[in-house]
């Protein structure tokens, strides 16, 4: 066994290119502050190590430097993305040693982790496409190394045929991969938890700061997709209720930690019910939303004291939730003293004008809480405007909003409204979630986008309990300025009128992909055979099915590989096919026979067949063996010849 061979130039290029292809999708998922330095470090290391490998001490130093840099950028929290960033960084400095075949192989091996890590961070179509491309590239590089190891590298397989043979191998392996994907028993619950991300994605959280939703409100990516079974609520009544925020410190609204521990209160729901399935895009958080009040918590989630849902695990990948909801008739009609106190609490010394107004309204309205609410909404309808272009919040932000700017978006409206209500002695809280949705006519489902994020208020009225009030919706339509122009997605894009259908098609495809691949889990797996009447299958049955399918796939793979390879030259291929067509006449061309020898044999036995054949075989012999002259082997001539060879049939009329 020879020692590991030295890499030649071409193989080295293949190795580095494949590694780059693997790392790029991962870098795209990392924050820019990390991605660029890592990319730069990779480029510099590769350039430095091009002629001779860097000394071991320098490599160690580089490694420590990179680890330190990544940790310092991502802060003290160590999350999933920190791990991925570390992987990317280590891969970036791996090319400091690529002299030997072994180094190149280990580089490719570790690089294959990069697309994997990418999928832990993101499962979008771009990442998928890039990851898959990277895998093909890595395998092509491995193939190149095997050629080099065999001492065969001087043949210098062109890139195209190298890629083709790798793709062929992948196709042969595909049946087994697919069988395993669908049939290998899945874990119903993970053995260990998914590490969170250190840097959160935008989305609903358990706190709300003024203006921190601006990014969210311009983010057009889907947050949920909903399919209704049975009645569908009106679009303006679709309030996807998330966490409720109780505590206000003058600037930020938060949900107190103890609120999670409370049991769900008693409610009476209306007779109206909605049955639907939510498909939630990954957020890495645990907050779920539900239409109004869910009747019960779906599996792997719990119903909290404010009737919001919390998933048992962070939503790191696409999840589905089947739910039933109803609008409440009475929501928590008995409020405990403690909760009432919290729902009235306001920070000392903030927003004096608002409080003064609230006291004044209370005096004028007496005991009629509902009248105060109506009065506030009427005030908003007459005097307030909706805009995303708002000044930064000052200390008495609610005062500024209510008495000076009188323009803002849902965050301003909801928080000011709740402060006003609390000032007037009405228990109130801010509710976050999504409002509305867009129905995709393709596939008949609703899309709720991040930009549909919304904040509204709930006030507690005697006998009725918590009542939803959306102060933003009270703004007169003619005073809605500078909002997201059109609620229909895709219409402001480059495609103009075709933007919306294009968006519809894209989202529909995305949803089907989600449905078929991303959302496939243990539960779906067990119900997979229901359409063919097998009912629920358990793990053991699945294992048997999987073994059978895997065996079949392996046999199929063996059969595919055992088939002879196709002759690459189309002329030769057509010529051989032509020879085989004479098999019925027992005149097929034998493998050792030259064109003319065969022709002679045919002419001897069946002279009437030979006439056509003579011309063809002459042309073939000329094409293949004649002196190479310009023009004789042009692609055009070859095409004509292939055509003629393919169309030739031994004349059977004489039989």
């Amino acid at each position: 066994m020879a020692p590991t061979p030295v890499l030649d130039r071409t193989s080295r290029h293949w190795a580095l290119l494949a590694a780059v292809a693997c790392v790029v999708p991962l870098l795209l998922q990392l924050p820019i502050t990390l991605a660029w330095p890592i990319a730069a470090a990779g480029a510099v290391t590769t350039a430095l190590a091009w002629r001779k490998p860097l000394p071991a001490m320098l490599r160690l130093l580089l490694t420590l430097l990179v680890i330190g840099a990544v940790l310092s950028v991502s802060g003290a929290r160590f999350g999933r993305d920190t791990g991925c960033a570390l992987l990317a960084a280590m891969l970036a400095i791996k090319p400091s040693e690529t002299a030997k075949l072994r180094d190149a192989r280990s580089l490719i091996g570790f690089s294959l982790f990069a697309p994997f890590a990418t999928f832990l961070l993101d499962q979008g179509p771009l990442s998928l496409a890039l990851g898959l491309t990277a895998a093909v590239g890595a395998l092509a590089a491995l193939q190149r190394f095997a050629d080099l190891e065999a001492g065969d590298a001087k043949f210098n397989v062109p890139l195209r045929s190298g890629l083709r043979s790798v793709l062929q191998l992948m196709l042969i392996g595909l049946p087994l991969a697919v069988a395993t994907f669908w049939l290998f028993p899945r874990l119903a619950s993970p053995m260990w938890g998914v590490p969170d991300r250190a840097l959160a994605r935008p989305g609903l959280s358990e706190s709300m700061r003024p203006n921190d939703w601006l990014d969210l409100m311009t983010d057009d990516t889907p947050a949920l997709r909903v399919r209704f079974f049975g009645p569908t609520p009106r679009q303006d009544q679709m309030y996807w209720r998330g966490p409720t925020l109780w505590r206000f410190d003058g600037e930020e609204w938060t949900r107190p930690l103890w609120a999670r521990g409370l049991p769900a209160p008693e409610t009476q729901s209306a007779s109206m019910q909605w049955d639907y399935e939510l498909e939630v895009e990954p957020t890495d958080r645990r907050q779920l939303v539900a239409l109004d009040l869910p009747l019960h918590a779906p599996a792997n989630s719990e119903l909290l004291g404010d009737y919001s849902l919390r998933a048992a695990r962070p939503l790191a990948s696409l999840t589905r939730w089947r739910m039933q909801s109803a609008p409440p008739r009475r929501h928590e009609p008995k409020l405990t003293v403690m909760l009432r106190q919290v729902a009235l609490d306001l920070p000392e010394g903030f927003n004096p004008r608002t409080l003064a107004l609230a006291h004044q309204w209370r005096r004028e309205a007496g005991n009629d809480d509902a009248a105060i609410v109506r009065r506030a909404l009427e005030w908003i309808r007459v005097e307030f405007a909706y805009t995303l272009d708002t000044p930064p919040w000052g200390r008495n932000a609610v005062d500024e909003f209510l008495f000076e700017t009188k323009a803002g978006f849902c965050q301003h409206f909801s928080s000011s409204f709740v402060v006003l209500m609390r000032g007037a002695g009405i228990p109130a809280r801010v509710v976050t979630g999504y409002a509305g949705g867009y129905r995709n006519p393709l596939g008949d489902y609703w899309v709720v986008r991040q930009s549909d994020a919304h904040a509204w208020a709930e006030v507690w009225l005697p006998d009725r309990g918590w009542v939803r009030v959306d102060p933003t919706a009270a703004v007169a339509p003619e005073r809605i300025y500078d909002t997201l122009q059109d609620r229909a997605p895709g219409s402001d894009g480059l495609l103009g009128d075709f933007g919306m259908p294009a968006w519809n098609v894209r989202d529909w495809m995305r949803r089907n992909w989600n449905d078929l691949v991303l959302g496939f889990d243990a539960d779906r797996q067990s119900r997979m055979f229901r359409p063919i009447g097998l009912g629920k299958v358990d793990g053991q049955q699945l294992a048997i099915l999987f073994s059978i399918a895997a065996l079949l796939a392996l046999l199929w793979m063996a059969w595919l590989s055992a088939r002879g390879q196709r002759e690459p030259d189309p002329v030769l291929r057509a010529w051989r096919q032509l020879g085989n067509r004479y098999r019925k006449l027992d005149l097929e061309r034998l493998s050792h026979e030259t064109a003319s020898a065969w022709l002679d044999r045919v002419a001897r036995i069946r002279p009437e067949l030979a006439r056509d054949l003579r011309e063809l075989s002459h042309r073939f012999a000329n094409w293949r063996y004649a002196e190479h002259q310009p023009g004789t082997r042009s692609t055009r001539a070859a095409k004509d010849l292939v055509h003629a060879l393919r169309n030739h049939r031994p004349k059977r009329s004489h039989l």
């Binding site: 192989r105 994997f116 898959l132 065969d152 042969i172 899945r186 990948s317 063996a558 590989s561």
Partner: protein, 334 residues
């Protein structure tokens, strides 16, 4: 016989035993007559070190992907795994259906490297490239590429003594297409290869001729002009006799003749003062010299009829072969 000496890689005794045992189980277990065709029962496939690393990596990925129910990651991992398995099958397919048609070698004197050619043949419909041939132990692997269904590999074997060289069990292997697994097969030819006797480096010159009729032969570098003949393409320009050519109007060439000795008798029994093997070495050298000088020679060996007198490559080969195949000295009393 080129024995399978200790492996180049230092290995513990236990490992050597295990390896020897495993090797004794593999097919073929005894020499076979060529041509042989490699069927799948004698093709072995095991992952390479890198293949094991790849498998570990994929297992790690699969565990992570199943745990997080991350389907794209799982798909990626399965696709890589499926491709890896397909490459195992592909590696095996590189060897099955291969036919080893013959082994031959140009005989060389003992001590020199014997270049063994292994001829292989296969159905041309499948590309078989980058196969390598070695003895699973010591030899440096030789490349075997099949073009249009045939190919040959040239392996060099060290020779130690004259006589028949048993070709060791040889291995054909490949790590293509992805380097994840090594597929290999053994073949063991029962046809030995000839190794000639080593001629001694220097010694007394050829004995004088003993035959009556003096031989002469035409030689362009000789001294006496023999006659003129017509020019034939390929004749040296210096051999052209310009004056006679001018006279005749056509190119003429001089031919010379060199007187040479009578038939040489290379007799085993006349070298009685030499030991057994040195005697063989001397005869081997004399045969080469006689052949070089273009003399007719006869070889008398004990226990067999005399060869010659004759000259030419065929005679030389017959003589060298007879010398090489003399029994080893142990069973022989001069």
């Amino acid at each position: 016989m080129a024995t399978l000496a200790a492996s180049r890689i230092p290995a513990s005794a236990l490992w050597r035993h295990v390896r020897a045992f495993a090797l004794s189980l593999t097919r073929p277990r005894e020499p076979e007559t060529l041509p042989v065709s490699i069927d799948r029962r004698r093709v072995y496939v095991l992952p390479t070190r890198f293949g094991l690393f790849y498998a570990t990596l994929l297992l790690g990925m699969a565990a992570g992907a199943l745990n997080y129910n991350n389907n794209p990651a799982l798909l990626l991992c399965l696709l890589l795994g499926g491709t890896g398995l397909a490459s195992l099958i592909a590696a095996q397919m590189q060897l099955t259906g291969l036919g080893i048609t013959a082994i031959d070698a140009e005989p060389v004197p003992a001590g020199q490297l014997l270049r063994v050619r292994i001829h292989a043949q296969a159905d041309p419909s499948r590309a078989r490239r980058g196969l390598r041939v070695d003895d699973d132990d010591l030899l440096e692997a030789a490349l075997l590429n099949l073009e249009q269904g045939r190919g040959e590999a040239e392996l060099t074997l060290q020779t130690h003594q004259r006589g028949w060289l048993d070709v060791p069990r040889l291995r054909i292997f490949t790590t293509r297409p992805l380097g994840l697994a090594r597929a290999w097969t053994y073949f063991w030819s029962d046809a030995p290869l000839l190794v000639l006797a080593t001629p001694e480096a220097e010694g007394p010159p050829l004995p004088g001729g003993s035959g009556e009729q003096a031989q002469s032969r035409l030689h362009p570098a000789g001294d006496d002009v023999h006659h003129l003949r017509g020019y034939r393409p390929g004749d040296s320009r210096r051999a052209i006799a310009w004056k006679p050519s001018a006279r005749r109007g056509t190119l003429l060439v001089r031919e010379y003749e060199q007187p040479s000795g009578a038939d040489v008798v290379l007799d085993w029994h006349q070298l009685g003062n030499l030991a057994y093997e040195p005697r063989i070495s001397r005869l081997a050298r004399w045969i080469d010299e006689a052949e070089r000088d273009g003399r007719r020679y006869r070889l008398n060996l004990p226990g067999r009829p005399a060869l010659g007198p004759d000259r030419g490559a065929a005679h030389r080969d017959a003589c060298q072969r007879a010398l090489a195949l003399l029994p080893p000295s142990a069973g022989f009393a001069p």
